[in-house]
Amino acid sequence: MSSVLAADGIVKRFGAFTALDGVSFRLERGRTLGVVGESGSGKSTLGRIVMRLMAPDAGVVTLGDDDLFSMTERQLRMARRRIQLVPQDPRHALNPTMTVQQSLAFQLRAQGVPTREWSARCVELLARVSLTADYLHAYPHELSGGQAQRIAIARAIANNPEVIVADEAVSALDKSVQAQVLNTFAELQSDLGVALFFISHDLAVIEHISDDVLVLNRGEVVESGPTRAVLDDPKDPYTRVLLDARHSAEAV
């Protein structure tokens, strides 16, 4: 099966520091790749590179059949809609001068959704992330941390993307709203075949949502494969530390 998103041998350096060192992965239609790894291991950097927000020093990213970094401006504009990012820092990613409704409508217009349908679509998008229509007129600074995160998710979904790169996209949510958002993601996957590149430090979430996992440590892939296989029998010491810490936190 051909992949919707793949990376091969990605290297990224910041000065003398190597943040990513030969990272490769493949993500198929309708599947979820969970990305875990210590804080600072390079997860967000990898996310930025597959969004072409940053260029790698070496390696190739392919979106569908196209090489992401040799696309023309026009191809890139099209590609931008096929792959959507929910950034780790959602508040700073939302335009501070736009209300929630304006932000969402902006995406709907880009897709050619008729004006008269915007308002109903916006309400429906908010419902998918457990928010009422009351928030349509709110500005980003008037939202709580978890509400801003949910607007970033709604905005990504509004584009009907093929791939969502979710960078800690449910980490600021209470467990019930988190469950609602995870259910929404699952629905998008089964109904529309959306693929998820799902970065999270929360192993319970990763176990629930991922088909495969990729474990990063200091910029290198130390383990990857089907979720059950990796988490039930971790080969890498770092993966074991993560699992142990989780079990000790759960034991209390």
Partner: protein, 324 residues
């Protein structure tokens, strides 16, 4: 007994003699609604924070946790209408002037904001920001000593290569590293009160546990009172580990359940708390079928006042119980 909603003494406080580090009573916060009138997002909350005690604040996203935490340290949003009183060592924080507040913050009150970007200056290196805080509050005699201390602080929050990070600007470090820098700055003056707003939300379980140990160690040594906001029940149980530590649960601007940690986490009485604690992601649940808090519980806003159900444990009754 007075109505629990406004009394700091109700719920999780057995002993009236224990000194309060911070005493918030009847705190309400409203914002102007775009449709006219005011939206009340924090509704007459009373909460006392005892010396050496951890109070965990759980609750719905948007229930008012951050607004409440910022307000009681005198940092309410300028557009907010604030009512009530908050006392910290004889100072009324809601009416204190900016100079008095600036003296307290950093020195005696440490804040870890939910969004670490909001407290870090994007134009200055991490090292400069930490050393300046240390020098400003007299925690280091000179720049060289401050730099040594800054390195130690980054090691304390388990940042692997502190020398590199000291030279980095905030945008050059990862989300979890920024969060830990904010924690390092909040604890560097060993304050009497720490308000930590989801301080481990970007950290994995292993580092999260280490941050909890660090805060726990501080309260042992300095008798620091800690208000700890989190969505992570495992972390909540871990930080509220002493018998007198408490958990408060917020919904729609109110505290709907308050008690000692074991009471709330193991014997929850409020419908919302029970449903929230049951909503955990699991590999055993098929995708798309995770349980959520039912809307009729989540959206309901007519809970009665907090009433004691056992010593130290107060619950906002359901409307039926009130009329019954």
């Amino acid at each position: 007994m007075s109505l629990g909603t406004t009394s700091a003494a109700s719920g999780g406080q057995l002993d009236d003699q224990t000194p309060l580090t911070l005493d918030a009573s009847n705190v309400s916060v409203s914002f102007r609604s775009p449709r006219g009138g005011w939206n009340t997002v924090v509704d007459s909350i009373g909460l006392g924070l005892e010396r050496s005690q951890v109070t965990v604040l759980l609750g719905e996203s948007g229930s008012g946790k951050t607004v409440f935490a910022r307000t009681i340290t005198g940092m309410a949003h300028p557009a907010a209408k604030v009512e009530g009183t908050v006392e910290f060592d004889g100072v009324e924080l809601l009416s204190a002037d900016r100079r008095a507040l600036r003296r307290l913050h950093g020195d005696r009150i440490g804040m870890v904001p939910q969004d670490p970007n909001s407290s870090l200056d994007p134009m200055r290196r991490i090292g400069g920001q930490i050393t300046e805080t240390l020098l400003q509050h007299g925690k280091a005699p000179n720049r060289a000593a401050a730099l040594v201390r800054a390195t130690e602080l980054l090691e304390l929050v388990h940042i692997a290569d502190p020398e590199r990070v000291l030279h980095n600007y905030p945008h050059e470090i990862s989300g979890g590293m920024r969060q830990r820098v904010a924690i390092a700055i909040a604890i560097c003056c060993e304050p009497e009160l720490i308000i930590a707003d989801e301080p481990s939300s970007a950290l994995d379980a292993s580092v999260g546990v280490q941050v909890v140990r660090l805060l726990d160690d501080l309260r042992e040594r300095m008798e620091t009172a800690i208000l700890f906001i989190t969505h992570d029940i495992g972390i909540a149980a871990l930080i509220a580990s002493k018998p007198h530590d408490r958990v408060a649960v917020m919904l729609g601007g109110r505290i709907v359940e308050l008690g000692f940690a074991h009471q709330v986490l193991h014997n929850a009485q409020h419908e919302y708390t029970r449903a929230l604690l049951a909503a955990e992601p699991s590999a055993n649940t098929p995708r798309g079928e995770l349980a959520v808090v039912p809307d009729e519980v989540r959206m309901r806003r007519d809970w009665g006042p907090l009433r004691d159900v056992e010593p130290g444990h107060a619950v906002a009754s359901t409307p039926q119980e009130v009329t019954a």
